[in-house]
Symmetry: C2
Subunit: 407 residues, 2 copies
């Protein structure tokens, strides 16, 4: 039973590099949109970004460009820039959407493009609101996150490795495009939409209450591996496995007490400390004393005992493992049992495990992941269908190095 994917018919031009903008395009592509990523003939700034496969190709690039089409056009040449402009404004009912993290000036100046195509939606991602470059590694220090991360006794700030703002910004870009496209179907008019990585980070800091906390003069501290504001920490089991245990809600807290049989001991502890552990704040205040009891219990039991017990009681917990271990786990809890993942044949790099779209639409069904394109593999097809160029014209452009057409 074939069901079309959710955004089938929508068409996007992406001029991008690195994470946020490519992830936006990837998300739209995995929802069924036709996303054309345009790169220089020898690849963009992110074409060799680590990690690399054994053939030297970038697993990073392949991961972020799944399910797209690739056109290789040299925008350092006037003809290349004209071709890209023509693709952006080419009449198409569900097209004329540009997603980019390149500066919105020169050949990408919104006003110029919109003069030719008032329906144009142009979403531009920048580092900060002034257009300067910024990456997660520079945004985080400005917002204070490294000072809240890492071992409690360590004075040094600790950078976390997940490019969270990039990922959030990429998803915000999709929201911006879908919202602007919804408006366009009512008004017929496009618009430009601006989005800065640092603004996304600042907004999330406000939404999580961190900004108001700072403004009101409260100084957040570093709590190591403890979860802030309730109970949660890592523990070692008798067989030297490490687990994370969380008692955020009262239900989770009670489940932990019941599973470990420590409920009454923990209640007595609370009384002793003048606290009430049914309140999350008091669980945080008493975290070290609580952790001492849980640590003793964990040290007496192996993971093989703890795991099923915690599952049975509905404890909120997990095991510390490497991604490899998660892939090697053949139980129903292992990642390989998740239909989100499938093997794709990545041209050049061979079979590769890849994730599809985590949103599961009942009307579209689960869509399997698709590989990333070979750089320039759709250049000719795109110039032919969208701009009506002949094979001879395409051949001449390729010969002059303005475009690159991969087989």
């Amino acid at each position: 039973m074939f069901a079309p994917n959710t955004l089938t018919g929508l068409s996007i031009i992406e001029l991008s590099a690195f994470v946020a903008a490519p992830l936006g395009g990837l998300t739209l592509a995995q929802l069924g949109a036709d996303v054309i990523r345009i790169d220089p003939p020898r690849g963009g700034l992110d074409y060799h970004r680590w990690p690399l496969a054994s053939d030297g190709s970038s697993l990073f690039w392949q991961g972020l460009n799944k399910a797209k089409r690739s056109a290789a056009i040299d925008t350092a040449t006037p003809e290349g820039r004209e071709l890209v402009q023509a693709l952006i404004v080419a009449p198409e009912d569900n097209g004329n959407i540009l997603l980019t993290n390149f500066p919105a000036r020169g050949f990408l100046l919104y006003e110029t493009l919109a003069a030719q195509c008032p329906r144009l939606i142009q979403l531009t991602i920048t580092g900060d609101r002034l257009g300067r470059s910024a990456v997660d590694y520079t945004v985080n220090p400005r917002l204070g996150f490294p000072g809240l991360t890492g071992p409690q006794n360590d004075e040094q700030p600790c950078n976390h490795v997940l490019p969270a703002w990039d990922l959030i910004t990429g998803h915000l870009a999709v929201i911006g495009i879908l919202a602007a496209e919804r408006s366009r179907r009512a008004s017929g008019q496009g618009q430009s939409v601006a989005l800065a990585l640092e603004d996304a980070a600042l907004a999330m800091s406000s939404h999580l209450g961190l900004l108001a906390e700072a403004q009101l003069g409260m100084q957040r501290q570093k709590y190591g591996n403890y979860l802030y504001g309730a109970f949660g920490r890592d523990f070692l089991t008798a067989d030297q496995e490490r687990i994370m245990v969380v008692g955020l809600t009262l239900k989770q807290w009670r489940a932990l007490g019941q599973a470990t049989g420590l409920q009454s001991e923990l209640d007595a502890l609370a009384t002793e400390l003048g606290l009430n552990f049914s309140q999350e704040g008091d669980r945080f205040r008493g975290r070290e004393a609580i952790a001492e009891r849980i640590a003793e219990w964990c040290a007496r039991h192996s993971l093989t005992y703890i795991g099923p017990l915690f599952e049975q009681h509905g404890v909120c917990w997990s095991r510390y493992q490497s991604l490899q271990q998660g892939l090697q786990d053949s139980s129903p809890d292992g990642f390989m049992a998740n239909p989100l993942l499938s093997m794709v044949i990545q041209p050049g790099a061979g079979p590769q495990l890849a994730a599809g779209m985590p949103l599961q639409f009942s009307a579209a069904g689960q869509q399997a992941a698709r590989a990333a394109p070979v750089l320039g593999s759709s250049t000719a097809e795109i110039l032919s269908t969208m701009l009506g160029l002949t094979d001879a014209q395409i051949g001449a452009l390729a010969q002059r190095g303005i475009i690159m057409c991969a087989a």
Copy 2:
């Protein structure tokens, strides 16, 4: 000049707690949708989540529920559940959208609701795909992130503090709703959309190349504060300030060499090591030797010298600071200069700094942040306008404790 906000007219019912689902609702609300969050009369599971304001109210809850309306209805009672169901299916052209992280069973069973309202779009967020609870603090250990975070010489895994998967899942929920609503306008049919926090995390791990890297047998290591795969690290200045310096792209790398005057020394270093620092991978391979040179240079100069110099050369860098310091910075670089932020009067808690929507739509203009509602402040209004209940009926429900109407 008044311009309607981008999603003005769209109407959403939110039954939620904590981060992901409330953030989804917040995002839609800040884009102009009418988002009604329904809570129990004494508040939901997240109503007391830390950080707290001095009056004991939750800055976390206020942060995540800005710009919404609040209805307080007790779904532990049959009448309360019927009221909520009636609100979800109440005929409205741009409504019948339910966003929730509550289990899609019982009174929230999609099939039951859709039988009354085939236009219903129901987006349900779960912890994992099997419906078990999970939070960032349990998902991260399963995916290996704590093992890649923290000081290089530290064997212990290090939890990072940002609930990134929650934030990403919240944005994905908005994408799911906008995509399903786009489909609905073509087909007239709603659908259910499922989204698991762990699936979002697994998908991002694939998109960043981490999943394929692990599957292909490559073991990612812990690199402390170094940026992976290119050059980047933290450094101390002569005046004991700490800065992050990044040379991800060649342009950024050259800017760093020029600003510090170390270009030729670094080129000589590369030759000595048999590396080519114009390639990002070689900058990573030579990172310790590079960092030694940069560290020496930084230790000789103060931040007041380095800052303007780096700006002038376009170096990608930032200063480590607390969020407080960022708010106290009265320069154009300080957060208070950013129009994204404004003061809102948060009932009970007083004036509070809050962020609006980081997406800047040219057709809608910058929308100032709006405060979170008082719990239950729109209960009566919503039951009256959406279900046609009389004041007497509303009064009787309130008296029986099935609803709560705040002044």
